[in-house]
Symmetry: C2
Subunit: 210 residues, 2 copies
Amino acid sequence: MTLADHAAPAPRPGRRADAERNRAAIIKAAGEVFAECGGGVDVREIARRSGVGMGTLYRHFPTKDALLVTVLERQFDAWLTDAYQWAVATEDPWRALTGFFEQLLDTQAGNRAVVESFATTGGPSDACVQRCYAIIDELRTRCVDAGVLRSGVTTEDLFLLSGSVSQAVLTTADSHPGKWRRLLRISLDGLSSRNTEPLPEPGVGTDARV
Amino acid sequence: MTLADHAAPAPRPGRRADAERNRAAIIKAAGEVFAECGGGVDVREIARRSGVGMGTLYRHFPTKDALLVTVLERQFDAWLTDAYQWAVATEDPWRALTGFFEQLLDTQAGNRAVVESFATTGGPSDACVQRCYAIIDELRTRCVDAGVLRSGVTTEDLFLLSGSVSQAVLTTADSHPGKWRRLLRISLDGLSSRNTEPLPEPGVGTDARV
DNA sequence: GATCAATCGGAGCGACTGCTCCGCCTGAAG
DNA sequence: CTTCAGGCGGAGCAGTCGCTCCGATTGATC
C-alpha cells in the first residue's frame, strides 16, 4: 500500500531497535485488520497478525481505542493529502470539488473502520475532521467564486454529504462495487448552481434565505 | 434464514392471558430500548424494562435477533404504510416521491436500531426491503411518466440514497436536528430531470471524474 | 377448592474481550 | 563477556452478554 510512505512516524529517541520494529509492525497489522473487520475486532487478532504479544501491544498503545485512532488518523490523513493535492492541481473548480470527493470516497471504499468512524464519532479524529473541513471550505470557496455552486451550501453540508455517501460505499462494497458513484453523482449534481431553490433552514423558518 | 424463522406469529389461540400480556410488554419495551440504544443493548435491559424475567423473554422469542427483527419489522412497516398512504394521496408525482422520503426519514430520525439495520443488513428485514422497493418503484414510475425524473435513475438508486441519508439523520440527531433535510433536498434535486448528464454505470471503469 | 400444565423469574453457565501481571529475554553500554 | 533496564509474551483476571435450567407460581378447567 502506497499510503504508508506518506507520513513517517516520529521515532522516539532512546527506544530500543526491536521496540521500534514492533511498533511499526503493530501499526501496519492494525491498519489492515481494522480496515477488513472494523473497529470491533479482537485485539488478539491484531497482536497475532503483527507477530507480537499482548503485553508488547499494550506498552505501545495504552488502549485499544488509542491504537484505533492512531491508525485511522494516519490512513485518512494520507488519503486527504492525496485528494487535496489532486484537487489544487485541477483548474476547473467544479471538477476539483467533485473529483476530491470521488477520490476520497474511493480510497475509503474498502476500509470498514474509517467509514464506521464517521457514523459513530463523526470522523477518524477531531484533527482529521478539522483538516477535512478546511480543505472542503477552500474548494467550496473556489466554486462559489466561480458561481458554479448552489447558493446557501455550507461546508458542513458538504462534509455531511461525504459522510453519508461513505456509508453507501461500505454497504454496497460486496454486492455492487462502484454503485456508490451513481449516488455521489446524483448528490453532487444537486449541489450545482442550476438548482436555484433555497435549501431548508434547520431552524424553524419556512422562508427562503439565499 | 427465511423470514418465517424470525417473524413471530400473531396472537396464537390457546395461549394464557398473562403470556399474551407479557408478550405485548416485551415487544413494546424492546421497541423503545432498541430505538434509544441500538441493537447492541443488553437483553437484560429489555427484560427489566418490560417487567419480565429472562426465561419469559426467551420463551416468546428464540433469540435476541428474532426479537430485534420482529420489532424492527413492525415499526418500519407502520412508517412505510403511513408514508405510502400520504404519497398516493398526493397528486404531484415529484412531491409524492420527495415527500415520501422526507416523511420516512423523519420517523426514522430517532430510531437507532432501524438506521443501523440499513448499514449492517441492508434493511430491517427482507420483506420490509421488498415492500419498500415496490413502493419506491411505483412512485418512481409516476415521476418517469410525468417526465420529472432524471433518466437512468433506478429504484435501487433511490433506495440506497434513502439509506445513506438515514445515516446522516442519526449522526446529526443530537447536535443538529433537522440538518439532514438539507442533505436530502440536495440529493433529491440531483434526481431532477433538469440534470441531463448520464449517471455512471457501475461495472465500467472509473472515467466518471470528467 | 383442587389439579396441573403452562408460564414465570433470575441465578448461573459458557463464550468473548479489553486489559494486566509477571517471569523470561535481549539489545546495548561498559 | 558481563550486566541489567527496558522490552517481551501470553496466561489469566474481570466484566459483559447471549442464552439455559429448573424450582416456584399461576391461570384455566372441572
